[in-house]
């Protein structure tokens, strides 16, 4: 085990038992997160990326969820087997999470200052005045102007970008080792997105934390990630560093994803090209196709693809692909 390895997920399987049958939301995910690096997790809605992230903090309600197999080693301790007091000590303190909807992720009835301070009081045992002082500092650090005034305001008085900054301030207040960002910029407009991503980068450099960046926006990945995993139907289909993913995508799904990014100008083509899309829909997770999960939508399907599911294998150093057609 390398010394800068923060988190190692091993063969994680999470299923949900529903009326329609068993949903295999996460199906054999393996990944590693290094200290101070950003791991991008890409996938369409329903690919299991959020479930994977939430399970790390035991935030999946069980039942209906069920941890079928797997380990998530954080400094050698398995997060998935921790007792309730242990995991609560980790949440917000060692591993923090920020969510997609800044509009609804803050408690509407308390001021911003109260909510940031709560974290200090809870994890660090600060008294009220110290917590307020620290909250002001945190707000200042996340770039909210006039923090003295802002801590007395309620969430509805802040804009979306401000609220996401406040969320980040809360999440980072205890200087966690890992920040899980579940689509942190999806609900924000583009200029604010860039600011928020910059902010996370600045903090990452300062406290040397690892970030798990969950998104379906490949632009965000290109901007922030060091390593990338691409998920489809609860499985990792490709995993490599960010340059390999963007310059040498090997899995057909990754390629199609990259082709479906809208572009304003393409050399030699004058805007007459139709935007490429991936045909079909993500299959329901309770009725996965036989063989490779992606074969019904793939443009290179061969008879073998319908028979057995491909294993994730290393095709070049550090580049893993789950497709048998890749040599």
């Amino acid at each position: 085990m390398r010394s800068d390895e923060l988190l190692k997920i091993d063969d994680l399987h999470i299923h949900f038992h529903t009326l329609l049958g068993t949903v295999k939301a996460v199906n054999g995910v393996r990944l590693k997160l290094r200290q101070g690096s950003t791991l991008g997790v890409v996938g369409e809605s329903g690919s299991g990326k959020s479930v994977m992230a939430m399970s790390l903090l035991q935030l999946i309600p069980m039942p209906p969820g069920k941890l079928v197999a797997g380990r998530a080693l954080f400094y050698g301790k398995d997060l998935l087997q921790m007792t309730v007091p242990e995991i609560r000590e980790v949440r917000g303190n060692r591993i923090s999470m920020i969510f997609q909807e800044p509009m609804t992720s803050l408690n509407p009835v308390f001021t911003i200052g109260d909510q940031i301070g709560e974290s200090f009081r809870f994890h660090r045992g600060f008294n009220k005045t110290d917590a307020v002082k620290k909250s002001v500092e945190m707000l200042e650090m996340v770039g909210i102007p006039a923090p003295q005034k802002r801590i007395k305001e309620y969430p509805h008085q802040l804009s979306g970008g401000m609220r996401q900054r406040a969320m980040i301030a809360m999440a980072l207040s205890c200087e966690p080792d890992i920040l899980i960002a579940d689509e942190p910029t999806t609900a924000l407009d583009v200029t604010v997105q860039a600011q928020i991503l910059d902010l996370m980068k600045i903090f990452q450099d300062r406290i040397h934390m690892g970030i798990i960046m969950i998104t379906h926006n490949l632009g965000v990945i290109a901007e922030t990630a060091d390593d990338v995993i691409v998920m489809y139907c609860g499985r990792i289909v490709e995993s490599a560093d960010v340059d390999q993913i963007f310059h040498n995508p090997l899995h057909p799904y990754t390629r199609m994803l990259l082709q479906s990014i809208p572009r304003l100008f393409i050399e030699g083509v004058r805007g007459h090209d139709r935007l490429k899309e991936i045909p079909g829909m993500v299959p329901g997770l309770h009725e996965l196709p036989r063989g490779c999960d992606f074969h019904p939508r793939c443009n290179q399907t061969e008879p073998a693809c319908r028979k057995h599911a491909p294993e994730l294998r290393e095709v070049e150093p550090g580049h893993f692909v789950a497709c048998d057609l890749v040599k």
Binding site: L57, L59, R88, E89, V90, R91, G92, N93, S96, M97, I98, F99, Q100, E101, T104, S105, L106, N107, P108, V109, F110, E118, S119, F122, H123, M167, M170, A171
Partner: protein, 319 residues
């Protein structure tokens, strides 16, 4: 008559910061943000109801100062005196006397006192019980939820009056017994309402975020679930108070409420009822009117609170 209040409230200065402004005295506010004040100032009925309620509450609190005659004092020589303005009325008995020569006005004031005491205490108790159980049911789910909610179902399937009657018949009349029994029969509605709101709030992202930040169940229950589900509880309480007042009056009317020596609106009505058809209408009509004003005023205030605190329900009702 109160047009000036309305006039102040409605003085809009045109759009400022995109929202129309209104004024009350020298204080400017935006109707959209200060909905409670605005809905209050734009309804005469609400203002009147608040005035009536304040008047009645002040009377009840100051009862020993206000009342001219001891309410339980029986003056047989002054039996069935009509109200002061009628022929044969005596000025010291403003609203006349009952069959045993007790002052009706004094009995009403003291009766209000009992009604308000019973209503506030028993609603407060049932609120505490219902709120805690509803919160536990909504937060814990599973076994405890089923247990609590089945108890609620059973409680709500029994007519309140029947339960209260049985209890009072077994244990006898008494003020605190009645407060207790009314608290016990009232908790179920709170539990059901709170559980419903908690179930919807626990799925909100800020609760998820609070869990992700590592906050414990106590913090989440109180600072997140409870506080955010308080609005329907306030509205429900405004409905429950007059209900309990009526229930208290009913029990007392049937002789199973407060002891007969305690002044109570229900008891007064019951006593006056015996002589109602011999022409002494005042002994039961005035307590009845007092009861009507009290419950009516609280009901109007309840409507106002609902409109002010849950504007969506008003829009949904298409008003």
């Amino acid at each position: 008559m109160f047009g000036w209040i309305r006039g102040f409230a409605m003085t809009t200065n045109g759009p400022l910061n995109g929202l129309p402004r209104a004024r009350f005295l020298k204080w400017e506010y935006t109707p959209a943000e200060n909905r409670i004040l605005h809905t209050f100032l734009s309804s005469y009925i609400t203002m009147a109801a608040v005035a009536v309620l304040i008047l009645l509450v002040v009377c009840a609190i100051l009862a020993p100062v206000i009342v001219p005659v001891d309410p339980v004092l029986q003056t047989l020589s002054a039996r069935l005196k009509p109200p002061a303005w009628m022929e044969g009325g005596v000025s010291s008995y403003l609203l006349g006397t009952d069959r045993l020569g007790r002052d009706v006005f004094s009995n009403i004031i003291y009766g209000l006192r009992i009604s308000l005491l019973v209503a506030t205490l028993s609603v407060a108790f049932s609120l505490v019980i219902g709120l805690s159980l509803g919160l536990i049911a909504g937060y814990a789910r599973g076994f405890w939820e089923s247990l609590i909610m089945r108890a609620v179902d059973i409680q709500l399937s029994l007519p309140l009056i029947l339960v209260a009657l049985c209890f009072m018949a077994i244990f006898g009349a008494g003020l605190y017994k009645m407060i207790f029994v009314l608290a016990v029969v009232g908790w179920a509605e709170y539990a059901r309402t709170v559980r419903g709101t908690v179930l919807s709030i626990r799925e909100k992202e800020y609760v998820e975020a609070a869990k992700a930040l590592g906050f414990g169940p106590i913090t989440i229950m109180f600072k997140y679930l409870l506080i955010n589900s308080i609005t329907p509880v306030i509205i429900l309480s405004a409905v429950q108070v007059p209900r309990v007042i009526i229930l208290e009056a009913t029990l007392s009317f049937l002789g199973l409420g407060v002891p007969v020596t305690t002044p109570s609106l229900g008891l007064s009505i019951a006593r006056g009822y015996q002589v109602l058809f011999s022409g002494a209408w005042w002994a039961s009509v005035f307590p009845g009117v007092a009861l009507m004003f009290l419950t009516g005023a609280i009901n109007v205030i309840g409507d106002w609170l609902r409109d002010a605190l849950e504007p969506k329900s008003r829009e949904a009702a298409g008003r």
